[in-house]
Subunit: 201 residues, 2 copies
């Protein structure tokens, strides 16, 4: 039986992403968000929503660029710290020991230690309630070499050079409950496992 | 060492969500997408991006409503099927044996068997490349009773009545690679595990 949870946010799953920007003086800054997702395939775009009172909000508007940095499970503590602190009086890179790396294609730094870094050029800004949704066109994705290479069938499947999610080990956030989770087992191949339903069943 | 993957979409993790709508004749329809995410907290909103040539695109425009249905691992095959078939000549509910349930608050059906159903009222439409991004204000979340109740500390933590992600067992999609994954282990409490970094370390 179904029960109403009310007009709240238990929409699962949501990602844990660290947004990298340069501040007004050009110093690297970062913040953690779970409010975002892919919003276009052609061109490849990703959107993140930030409250207007965050520093990162102003920095994205100024530099028209940001990075999405995907922390690995091993960085859960750092990702949490980046989310609960403010860059106003704190150098979050120095405090965490993480390394800002200048993106080649956009005016934003990425997090060197995180396995996946997505360089985005701001292409659209939309106001939604207390948040501003920033849409970034993905200009490049930098991946740590050790997480690249999906499986033995990569050359057959055309997945050479693509990061393996089981090596990236991204983190999920559970809204309201406030916990982080890792990713689990492979459930099968998309555009394939459903073929046995319907006509072929 | 970092390696460029190019301007593509290995942004992890992305969700597997089934979007429920009524068609032009009022018959229930659904499609699967991984292009979406939370985009506002106040009011609670979620966005999904659909190509203009999908049937669901027109149905959302017509009814100004949609549901986000979160399949459980047990429904991975159905979710895949819903993603690879078109509602043009097919009743996907009949084919999968899933049950459309009329939402109380919005003009869209939800999937009875999926553990989490999010009822959304369309509040904004944004064009991005070949996709249209539909922003829905969450009017209610329906959860299967068996997935509600997070842990023994629910009354202390204020999480009574909230679905437990470890019971919901939502599915992740890996762009480009084309695999589905489950969720994994609890990595700790948000706004907490990072406190040991910095001043307190």
């Amino acid at each position: 039986m179904k029960k109403s949870s009310g007009a709240k946010l238990p929409v699962y799953p949501t990602p844990v992403w660290v947004v990298g920007t340069y501040d007004n003086e050009g110093k690297p800054n970062m913040m953690t968000t779970s409010w975002g997702g892919v919003c276009s395939l052609t061109p490849p775009c990703v959107a993140v929503s930030l409250r207007k009172n965050t520093h990162t909000h102003g920095y994205i508007v100024k530099h028209k660029a940001f990075t999405i940095n995907v922390p690995s499970e091993a960085h859960a503590r750092e990702a949490d710290y980046i989310g609960i602190t403010s860059g106003r009086n704190l150098d979050k890179f120095a405090a965490t020991g993480l390394t800002p790396v200048r993106s080649k294609l956009v005016d934003a730094p990425y997090v060197g230690e995180f396995p996946l870094n997505v360089e985005c050029r701001l292409i659209q800004t939309v106001e939604i309630g207390q948040h501003t949704q920033f849409t970034g066109e993905i200009m490049d994705v930098m991946a740590e070499e050790s997480v690249i290479g999906v499986d033995r069938d990569a050359s057959v499947l055309g997945t050479e050079g693509i990061p393996d999610i089981e090596k990236v080990k991204p983190i999920l956030y559970v809204p309201q409950v406030g916990t982080y989770h890792g990713i689990g087992r492979n459930l099968g191949r998309a555009h394939s496992i459903g073929k046995t339903i319907g006509g072929e069943r």
